[in-house]
Amino acid sequence: MATLEELTTEATAEIEAAKPMYKQVNNERLEFTDADYDQAITDLANSKWDTQQFGYIQARQEAYGSVQDQLDMQYWDGVNGTTTWADHIAQVKSDNPKPE
C-alpha cells in the first residue's frame, strides 16, 4: 500500500499533466493560481488515500444484493441445504478486500 507521501507524489505528477486548469468565478474563466494548484494536489492525494483506505466500504455496499434478495437466498438455502447467501457475501468481500 502506498503512503500518503507516495500518493502526494503521484497527485503532483497528475496535476502537472492536467495543467492548465481553470476556475469560473464572476463569469470569468481564470487559470488556477499557484495556491489553487497546491490545493488541487492536496485534494487529489487525500482522495487517493481515502479510496485506498476506505473505498472497499462503498464498493461492498454497491455489490451486495438487496435485503429482499439476500432474504430470498437465505430462505432457499434453508429449503435446499445450499450456501448461495454465504457464497454471495464471501464473493463480495473477496472482490473488494479490506486493506491490510
Binding site: A18, M21, Q24, V25, R29, F32, D36, A40, S66
Partner: protein, 174 residues
C-alpha cells in the same frame, strides 16, 4: 409572494473548469438558495463537492460534517455520513452514461454569521455514472466560526472538471 426570490449570481459553464464559485452572500438576506442544473463532469465516477468561501477563498479546513440518505433505483437505499471532512459532499456522476448529471437545490443558513456554524440542506436528483436514478436528501454543517462566509465553491472529486452546468445563487427576501 412575487419578487421573493432574488437572483444574485449565475455561472453558466460553457468550457470545462475545475471549480465554479458563486459569490455575493452578505447580510442582505438571512437565507440563500442555490440551484444547480445539468451539472456534468468529464471523468467517470466522480463525486460532486462544495466548500464555503471566506473573502472569496475556499475554506479547506477539516470542519465539514454531513448526513444524508441516498435513494437508489438499483439497490438498497444508502446512508451517507461523516465528520471532519474538508468539503460538503453530494452524489456521484460520470461519463459512462451520456445522460449522467446532477440537479441540486441547496438552502444556505447562517452563512453571513461570524458566531454560528453554517448549515445547508441538500436535495439532489441524479442520474449516476451507471445510468441509475438516484435521489439524495441530507443536511450538512460547516463547524467553524469567526469569519463570515461570502460564497460557495463547487468542484468534483479527484480534480475532475465540471464540463457543463448552470449554477445560480438566490437570496430569500426577508
Amino acid at each position: 409572494m412575487a419578487g421573493s426570490l432574488i437572483k444574485i449570481d449565475e455561472e453558466i459553464v460553457a468550457s470545462a473548469v475545475a471549480s465554479v464559485t458563486l459569490t455575493g452572500i452578505d447580510s442582505t438576506y438571512d437565507v440563500y438558495m442555490v440551484k444547480v442544473n445539468n451539472w456534468k463532469t468529464d471523468t467517470n465516477d466522480r463525486q460532486c463537492l462544495a466548500r464555503v468561501t471566506e473573502s472569496g477563498t475556499p475554506n479547506t479546513t477539516a470542519n465539514y460534517d454531513y448526513a444524508g440518505k441516498g435513494l437508489r433505483s438499483d439497490t438498497t437505499f444508502t446512508n451517507r455520513s461523516g465528520t471532519n471532512g474538508t468539503e460538503f459532499k453530494f452524489e456521484y456522476i460520470g461519463t459512462a452514461d451520456s445522460q449522467a448529471q446532477s440537479n441540486l437545490t441547496l438552502f444556505l443558513f447562517n452563512f453571513n454569521s461570524t458566531t454560528e456554524y453554517a448549515f445547508i440542506t441538500n436535495e439532489m436528483s441524479n442520474l449516476d455514472y451507471l445510468g441509475n436514478a438516484f435521489g439524495t436528501q441530507g443536511g450538512q454543517v460547516f463547524t467553524s466560526t469567526g469569519t463570515a462566509r461570502d460564497g460557495i465553491q463547487f468542484f468534483m472529486s479527484s480534480s475532475a472538471n465540471t464540463s457543463a452546468g448552470t449554477f445560480t445563487l438566490y437570496g430569500l427576501k426577508k
